[in-house]
Symmetry: C2
Subunit: 186 residues, 2 copies
């Protein structure tokens, strides 16, 4: 299975509200309404920004429920591809996990917090994110069982995006982490 996804930047809260109202009007189904708080760590003796790896602790909150995940992301494979090895375990206690990581020499370097709404409509998955410090984004995803259909999927996604009033000039290729780090540096 291949995931094809395109992310678009929204102008402001009002535009995000309009996208949300449109999704509800066309009876897109709300799958998820969560808050994700991600902490990214530096390695004690390896420069992750050079090796293109990442270590993340995610707190996923659904109402009063909280789940904690530890994720390692390997380097991106190929130049264009967004493919990378990912390994995730669920952990029962965030504070103790942070204590273990810091004792081992890992240091928190970035925090990405977002409210995330996930909708589904036909074969599209539409994710509406409000990211602290960065603003509002929509990600549209289609899953295909053949890589040959990827171009076709992108065209479908762009068509769907245009019904939301989003043109190609609004495409955002960077990850939220990259955007936050660039913002911190500049």
């Amino acid at each position: 299975m291949f995931e094809v996804e395109v992310k678009f930047r929204l102008r402001d809260r009002e535009e995000a509200e309009r996208v949300r109202e449109y999704l509800e009007r066309i009876d897109a189904k709300l799958l998820e309404d969560v808050v994700e708080e991600d902490l990214y760590f530096s390695h004690p003796c390896r420069d992750f920004s050079k090796t293109d790896e990442a270590l993340r602790v995610r707190a996923l909150r659904r109402g009063t429920l909280e789940e904690i995940f530890l994720t390692y992301k390997g380097p991106r494979l190929g130049s264009e591809a967004k493919t990378r090895r990912e390994a995730t375990v669920q952990v029962d206690n965030r504070d103790v996990l942070l204590e273990i990581l810091e004792s081992l020499g890992f240091r928190p370097v970035a925090r990405v917090r977002k409210r995330r709404l996930v909708y589904t409509k036909e074969n599209y998955t539409i994710t509406l994110d409000e990211v602290d410090g960065l603003g509002y984004f929509v990600e549209i995803e289609v899953v295909t069982d053949s890589e040959d259909l990827a171009d076709r999927c992108v065209r479908d996604i762009l068509n769907f995006a245009s019904t939301l009033g989003l043109g190609e000039d609004r495409i955002e290729r960077r990850t939220y982490l990259e955007m936050l780090l660039e913002k911190t540096i500049s």
Copy 2:
């Protein structure tokens, strides 16, 4: 609360059987019957044997149930004291946790596997261990709310041990990990 514990080396399976029969005869209550498989890891850029730290992944098996724990142990505090900072989280998948650790540069350096029976009788906790490659051990523990009573607790433990036929010459102060590493080196 202070834990006072003394570990004794048993000669062989027969002696372990006799200890077990004695515990059952005096109606000691069996609390746990588990298999613990511990993997210890080296740090990617720190010599744990010099810093007196440890990172351990434990698989705890009760019948067909398996629980996985990640534990960091800080350096022992003081010269005599067995006190050290310990932080443990439960994790939902052993293989993925090992993949994450190895991706980050941690390497497995020792494996300690034991069958553990835990009994309780009055204020004593008696642990009977069969450790792969090391043999049979009994650990006797008493918990006290005052450090001043530690000497008294040790005397009680030695008395209890003598009823099991174990004198002070059978005391073993090393951890199983230390014993295994010394055995590997020699």
